[in-house]
């Protein structure tokens, strides 16, 4: 190929992912010298198509975040495009890119509504879990001294400033409550969609300890432990095996 083709391909992609091409800013000005001779109108159309496809991927990962952005949506998207050109074809990578951008923005401009940061983090966790896919149901293992268990490593633990669960449970009519809460997000056994659970601080502490397989017998007799293990396993927070 001609020595300059790669440079021209890079320049073309830089232009097609630019706010200039997508939003028509500076459309009357010729693009960078490497792109002399191109018809700009179809390039803009290509840029718009690609941008729409990319935003479809991102909005699919953050439906509630975008709904809550409301009138700010257009500004946020415009700034996102200017700051973060597309570098990866995958949905989850584009979703991460948007989340990183939004978090950085919210460091200087507090989000409105204020629980948006928690909602976005929760949606990113759910999108990540969906990529990993549904967990096949396993045969329940009765709690007993001959078993071992560990924390479900796929579960995402998310400390939130707001209890945002009602937003994901059929739509909240009232604003989420300002309350420190530890949420666990995971795909429960036999399901194919993520679920959100609140995890009490004491249980979270226990789960953090259970990073590796632990023999039940090593814990000795402990009142209520077997029931707790069964409950956590039922919700998918613990993996249990013989």
């Amino acid at each position: 190929m001609p020595a300059r083709l790669l440079q021209r391909q890079i320049s073309l992609l830089e232009y097609l992912t630019s706010a200039d091409a997508i939003f028509g800013e500076g459309i009357d000005a010729p693009p960078v010298p490497h792109l002399q001779g191109f018809d700009l109108a179809p390039l803009r159309l290509e840029a718009c198509f690609s941008h729409e496809k990319r935003m479809e991927k991102i909005i699919a990962a953050f439906p509630r975040t975008f709904e809550l952005l409301g009138d700010d949506q257009a500004t946020v998207v415009r700034d996102f495009v200017a700051a973060c050109p597309s570098v990866d074809i995958r949905r989850i990578e584009n979703a991460r890119q948007f989340h990183d951008f939004a978090c950085a923005r919210w460091e200087t401009t507090p989000p409105q509504p204020p629980y948006l940061r928690d909602v976005a983090a929760c949606e990113l966790a759910m999108a990540t879990l969906r990529i990993k896919g549904k967990v096949r149901s396993s045969q329940p293992v009765a709690a007993g001294h001959a078993m071992r268990f560990r924390r479900n490593r796929e579960a995402v633990f998310l400390p939130c400033a707001y209890d945002i669960r009602p937003i994901f449970e059929g739509g909240a009519s009232e604003a989420p409550q300002l309350r420190d809460v530890m949420l666990a997000i995971l795909i429960p056994p036999g399901n194919d969609q993520p679920a959100i659970f609140e995890v009490p601080a004491s249980v979270y502490g226990l789960l953090v300890e259970l990073d590796t397989w632990t023999d039940r017998a090593a814990w000795g007799p402990m009142e209520g432990l077997d029931e707790l293990i069964s409950e956590l396993a039922e919700h998918g927070l613990l993996e249990v095996s013989r």
Binding site: G37, A41, D88, I89, K132, G133
Partner: protein
Amino acid sequence: MTLRKLTPAVGIGYRSAIGDWTRDNLAHFDMLEITVDHCLSSSESVASEIFDLVGQIPMTAHGIGLSIGTDVPLDLAYLDRVASIVERLQAPAYSEHLAFTRAPGRDLANLLPLPKTEEVAEAIIAKVRTIQSRIPVPFLLENISYLFEWPESRMTDVEFLNLVCRETGAGLLLDVENLYLNSRNHGFDPHAFLNDLPAGIVKEVHVAGGVTVHKDFLARPFLADSHSHPVPDGALDLLDRVLVRHRPDAVVLERDDRLQEFDEILADVRRIRARVDAVQSENGHASALVAASD
């Protein structure tokens, strides 16, 4: 598993979003086209659901992630992963687009055209030979729909495709929707394109339906390959000619949007099958017509 003996087989591109529906309706299709990149980058459960179809229905392998036209060496690790997927699917062929989608630092995730010059063709020919050396099934190149032209292009679409295919022995996955859109958007005769292809070079066919796009910055509306609507009759008329002249192994309906419109999908499959059946039953007559007009 090979495609059915009464070629061409008619099927759809498998999409995991309607995977359950597809599995429940396998009887409507002779084959499925699997996008190898969906096996490589989707969840384990999506990949498992695809591999579980092996033995139930023939599958051919299609790629979207190679970016053969990017002016850098091929990603050999990616190709080897594709080879293992192709083998696992027992696919009779592997196809990719004659296009580029990315360059270092940017990935548009959209198929872009290449400058149609002999120099670029030479680079593509070398890459196709590399692909053929690593993936042990026939390799097919697909024509893309494109919105813009490179100013230095010196060849027509068909000249460029023919040059690469002739030098490498690669077959063609002819997307008749792309041909239809390009001919309308860029003002050339699609029948002349078809006439200029060597008989038999088209091994598989894509059909799809798009939309007309109006934008204030465009001098005229553009047809876009959105894979979202019923196949236009104009594309099916091109399919007729391809069927007579090339006898492809498979015709695949592509659908990527409005996937829940199952009735539309099945209706399109029936329309394609009707064209296939009509051409097969009148093959002698149709061949004579093509010969007379060539």
